[in-house]
């Protein structure tokens, strides 16, 4: 009996994994095709009208455009799986740069920042989500609902620059441009509050500094990312819990006279893990996109900034590599959420 249970779970997981791989394959094909979609020849489009036929030919050969697309796709994806993303177009002549060498250290920086933000955001968002669901329609819930709605609407760069501004002008906020615009008592009160805030560094420089020093330097970008992702996660957690709280077995638990906290933590949360895992994965994926803007604001050397620079110079191999990494991270996160949902749901263990 037990063996068959394990078998059925293993089968479910295997199906998910296969679908994940299929999605990755299709997405990689889509990313590769992005340059095929361009009407005309890519080499000509990049080099412009004044390029000589020789340079166009050279670029075409360098990018392998003289070969059929299907051959190029498989050599590209084959290399990508082994960590070789080809040669960047930013080098000249013999001075070529491997895309993998450009991405490697930056990928580490980005992952470091994203993990820091996730460590701050996930617990805060989940606990606040539980509280708002618990005290539904209370003043706290209403205020939180409006506040999260506002937070969702803020562009990442606004939050980032606003925080930088506060940090930069914190010692003399009442005399700063914004302080002078606000009424006196507001700017003085706020300036006094700002004095209590430590002066975070506003540029995220990366060097060989010790670990905690690095964390300290990344605090402002991480806080920005936390602020923009907590709101979404909180609202979704609340929605999930509220739809659960209206189910009959919760009503039953409540009528038995259990305390609301116990109802939530013991009865509701067990069934909520699957949707919450989805919520978290969805928002971590959202964080991946947010990372791009935040890296640019704080001049942080991650792959988001690399990708933006590559888009501007139309360095296609780098853009494709970055897009593939972002898309793979997104798909893997969703896959993990699916697996958590399967494992945390005992009903799936008993085939009907």
């Amino acid at each position: 009996m037990r063996n068959s249970l394990i078998f059925s779970v293993a089968r479910l997981i295997a199906v998910r994994l296969i679908f994940g791989c299929l999605a990755l394959f299709l997405v990689s094909m889509l990313i590769f095709m992005a340059i095929e979609l361009l009407p005309g020849d890519f080499a000509e489009a990049v080099l412009g009208r004044s390029a000589t036929p020789e340079t166009v030919d050279a670029l075409r050969r360098q990018m392998g455009l003289d070969q059929p697309a299907i051959v190029r796709y498989f050599s590209w994806i084959g290399g990508a799986i082994q960590g070789d993303f080809g040669v960047s177009m930013s080098g000249f002549g013999s001075d070529t740069r491997q895309v993998a060498d450009m991405i490697g250290p930056r990928l580490f920086n980005t992952v470091f920042l994203a993990i820091m933000a996730a460590i701050c955001a996930v617990p805060v968002a989940l606990s606040m989500g539980v509280l708002t669901a618990l005290w539904r329609n209370s003043v706290f819930d209403r205020v939180a609902s409006v506040a999260t709605l506002i937070a969702i609407s803020l562009p990442e760069f606004f939050v980032a620059y606003l925080l930088s501004y506060f940090i930069i002008s914190k010692d003399m906020f009442a005399q700063s441009q914004m302080g002078l615009l606000l009424p006196d008592f507001v700017s003085q009160g706020f300036g006094w509050l700002l004095q209590l805030v430590p002066s975070f560094p506003t540029l995220a420089i990366i060097d060989d500094a010790p670990f905690w020093e690095q964390v300290w330097r990344l605090s402002l970008p991480a806080i920005t990312l936390t602020l923009v992702s907590v709101a979404h996660m909180m609202r979704m957690t609340r929605a999930v819990l509220i739809s659960l709280l209206s189910s009959p077995y919760i009503e039953m638990a409540r009528l038995k006279g259990l305390s609301p906290m116990r109802v939530i933590l013991h009865h509701a949360l067990r069934n909520a893990w699957a949707p919450i895992a989805t919520v978290v994965a969805f928002n971590l994926a959202y964080l991946i996109a947010g990372v791009v803007v935040v890296e640019v604001v704080f001049v942080y050397p991650g792959i988001g900034q690399l990708m933006v620079d590559a888009v501007k110079t139309r360095d296609i191999p780098v853009v494709q590599a970055c897009a593939l990494i972002f898309a793979a991270a997104y798909i893997v996160l969703n896959l993990i959420a699916d697996l958590v949902a399967i494992i945390s749901n005992p009903r799936l263990l008993y085939p009907r």
Partner: protein
């Protein structure tokens, strides 16, 4: 029965703010003291009587550029949203009416498109096609239409099960009639609520891309690129970059307030998710 008193304060604030923005966008040439890309003073002049909010790095009046920015940024975002809805709704309804393989292929295609983060996908396509305003509108509209397609299809499926739909089909009505006269009127409320949310997303995406320097190109006055151009001033304690950023934030908040109220009114599909 909806009365004015039942509308929450936040929605009222939203309506008023949206009205102000629309007014600024429509009457920009009358409201703005100077032209959109006109060099009228020295760079970085302070706030004063001549230039209400000072001048930017080239000596253009910041207030005028903010007002024209309303026209450009909102206009492009609205156009993109409309296009996205046109594509998404027509394909979604077509998928439901046709059904079968056609529906299957479209659904799987939208699944694949949705499994790439939108900003990343937009960056990828912009690098392939080049960063121009027209490309920006088309690319974002297509990427965003996958979400609209999903919603339109999901809501339309319940209509197809209705008797009046079956009756129209037996009458021998054409595909376009079925889509426009039988399904569309019945799925309109959730779609209208979605317009606000999609607009917010598109608006933030366009601003974000412009901020990154791959969206709307200069000298067009646009809030996202205005933030980028003046960004370094923040280290000197100047709030100039915050003004266009705040303009973006306030409009998005207002639209979200209205959309949230509207969603609560129509409710249903999204709450169940």
């Amino acid at each position: 029965m909806r009365t004015a008193a039942s509308v929450p304060v936040t929605a009222w604030i939203g309506f008023v703010v949206i009205a102000i923005y629309l007014f600024a966008a429509i009457f920009a040439p009358l409201l703005a003291p100077y032209g959109e890309a006109e060099l009228v003073g020295r760079p970085f002049q302070p706030w004063g009587d001549e230039f209400r909010l000072g001048t930017d790095q080239l000596g253009r009046d910041l207030l005028s550029r903010l007002i024209y920015g309303a026209r450009n940024t909102i206009g492009i975002a609205a156009l993109t949203t409309m296009l996205s809805f046109f594509i998404g709704v027509s394909l979604g309804l077509l998928a439901v009416v046709r059904g079968g393989l056609f529906d299957h292929i479209l659904s799987r295609a939208s699944d694949v498109l949705m499994s790439i983060p939108q900003l990343i996908f937009a960056l990828l396509l912009l690098s392939a096609f080049g960063a121009t305003a027209v490309n920006l509108i088309l690319i974002l509209a297509i990427i965003d239409s996958t979400r609209v397609f999903r919603l339109a299809r999901a809501t339309a499926i319940s209509v197809v099960a209705m008797d009046y739909y079956e009756a129209a089909r037996i009458r021998g009505e054409g595909v376009v009639w079925m889509m426009r006269r039988e399904i569309l009127p019945n799925i309109l409320p959730p779609l209208i609520a979605e317009v606000g949310l999609r607009f917010c997303f598109v608006f933030l995406a366009i601003s974000g891309l412009s901020f990154l320097g791959v969206g709307i190109q200069p000298p067009t006055a646009d809030w996202g690129s205005m933030v980028r151009e003046s960004a370094t001033l923040i280290s000197y304690g100047n709030i100039m970059p915050l003004l266009p950023a705040a303009a973006i934030a306030i409009l998005t908040i207002a639209v979200n307030f209205v959309a949230d109220w509207f969603l609560n009114q129509t409710s249903g599909l999204r709450d169940a998710k």
